[in-house]
C-alpha cells in the first residue's frame, strides 16, 4: 500500500520536474523562466523525496529524505529571489509582452 502511494508521488514529481524544465525552454525572458522553474522543479523534487519517505518509512533514510525536502523548500525560493534581483540589477531588460514594470521605474531611474 505504502509503496503504491510512493510510486504515485514519484510519478507526479517526475511530471512536474519535466514541466518546469519545459517552462525553462518555452518562456521568453529570465523572470518568467524563474517563475516556471522555481515553482515546478521545487515541488517535483519534493514529491520524489516524499515518495522515497513513503517507501522507507520512519527509518534513518526516510527521515533524511524529509530533512532534505525541508531544506529544498526553504532554500529554493531564496535562490530564485536572489537571481531575479541580480538579473534586474545587472541590466537584463524584460521581454516585449511586459505590461507593467514598477520595480524598474523605482530602482533603475537614477542610472
Amino acid at each position: 500500500m505504502n509503496e503504491t502511494v510512493g510510486m504515485v508521488f514519484i510519478i507526479v514529481g517526475l511530471a512536474f520536474d519535466f514541466f518546469g524544465c519545459l517552462g525553462l525552454i518555452r518562456f521568453p525572458d529570465v523572470y518568467n523562466r524563474i517563475q516556471a522553474s522555481a515553482k515546478c522543479v521545487t515541488l517535483g523534487t519534493c514529491g520524489i523525496l516524499f515518495g522515497l519517505f513513503l517507501f522507507k518509512g520512519f527509518s534513518p533514510t526516510g527521515i533524511k529524505a524529509l530533512l532534505c525536502l525541508l531544506f529544498i523548500i526553504v532554500t529554493a525560493p531564496v535562490s530564485a529571489h536572489a537571481l531575479a534581483r541580480a538579473a534586474y540589477l545587472s541590466g537584463v531588460k524584460p521581454c516585449k509582452e511586459t505590461v507593467a514594470d514598477a520595480y524598474g521605474e523605482d530602482k533603475l531611474k537614477g542610472r
Binding site: 511530471a15 512536474f16 514541466f19 519545459l22 517552462g23 518555452r26 518562456f27 521568453p28 525572458d29 523572470y31 518568467n32 524563474i34 517563475q35 516556471a36 522555481a38 515553482k39 515546478c40 521545487t42 515541488l43 520512519f58 527509518s59 534513518p60 527521515i63 533524511k64 530533512l67 523548500i73 526553504v74 529554493a76 525560493p77 531564496v78 530564485a80 529571489h81 531575479a84 534581483r85 534586474y88 524584460p94 521581454c95 509582452e97 511586459t98 505590461v99 507593467a100 514594470d101 514598477a102 520595480y103 524598474g104 523605482d106 530602482k107
Partner: protein, 170 residues
C-alpha cells in the same frame, strides 16, 4: 529561554531518529551536538520571540503560535499545489497565455522573519516571484505572470497569508 529548550528538544529528537538502535554513547554525543546547534541558532529563536509587545511569553502563547503556524502550513501547501497546476497549464498551452510584469504591494508585517516567510511563500504560490523587499517603506516588489488590470491592486493570496502571519510573528 523556553524557546531555546524547545529547539534543544527538537534537535535531539532528530538526532535520536537518525541513530535508530540508540545506546549510551549515542545519547551523550547527541546531547553535546544538539546543545552546540542550539547555541549556534540562539539568535534565530530570539527573533521568533516578541520583545516589544510585552503581552505574553508563556507556554500558552507559544502553543497558540504553533497552532497558527501549522494552519498556515496547510493553507500554503494547498496554494502551492494549485500554483503548480496553473503554471503547468500555461507551459503546455500552445499560445503561451502570459502578461508578465512587476508590481509592488504593501505589507503591514514588521519583523524580519515574518517578511522572509511572506516573500518565500509568495514565490511558491500562483504566478508570483518576489524580487525585492523594501523594509523601511513596507513594500514588496513582486513579478507576476498574469496581470489583470494595469499593475495595481493587491494579490488575494498575499492578503490571506499576511493575516495569518501577523498572528504568528507580530
Amino acid at each position: 529561554m523556553i524557546l531555546n529548550f524547545i529547539s534543544f528538544i527538537l534537535w535531539f529528537s532528530i538526532w535520536s531518529a537518525l541513530r535508530r538502535p540508540i545506546n549510551t554513547q549515542d545519547i551523550i554525543l547527541g546531547v553535546l551536538v544538539s546543545g552546540f546547534v542550539t547555541f549556534m541558532t540562539a539568535d534565530l529563536s530570539r527573533s521568533l520571540d516578541d520583545k516589544k509587545s510585552s503581552k505574553k511569553r508563556s507556554l500558552f502563547g507559544i502553543l497558540t503560535k504553533a497552532v497558527y503556524l501549522s494552519y498556515y502550513v496547510v493553507i500554503f501547501l494547498w496554494e502551492c499545489i494549485k500554483a503548480n497546476i496553473d503554471v503547468a497549464f500555461r507551459v503546455l498551452h500552445p499560445s503561451l497565455p502570459i502578461r508578465p510584469g512587476t508590481i509592488k504591494i504593501k505589507t503591514a508585517l514588521k519583523s524580519d522573519i515574518g517578511l522572509t516567510f511572506l516573500a518565500n511563500s509568495l514565490t511558491l504560490t500562483p504566478g508570483n516571484t518576489t524580487i525585492d523587499v523594501d523594509k523601511a517603506a513596507g513594500v514588496l516588489y513582486v513579478h507576476r505572470l498574469v496581470i489583470k488590470d494595469g499593475g495595481s491592486g493587491a494579490i488575494p493570496v498575499a492578503v490571506k497569508f499576511e493575516k495569518i502571519l501577523k498572528k504568528v510573528f507580530d
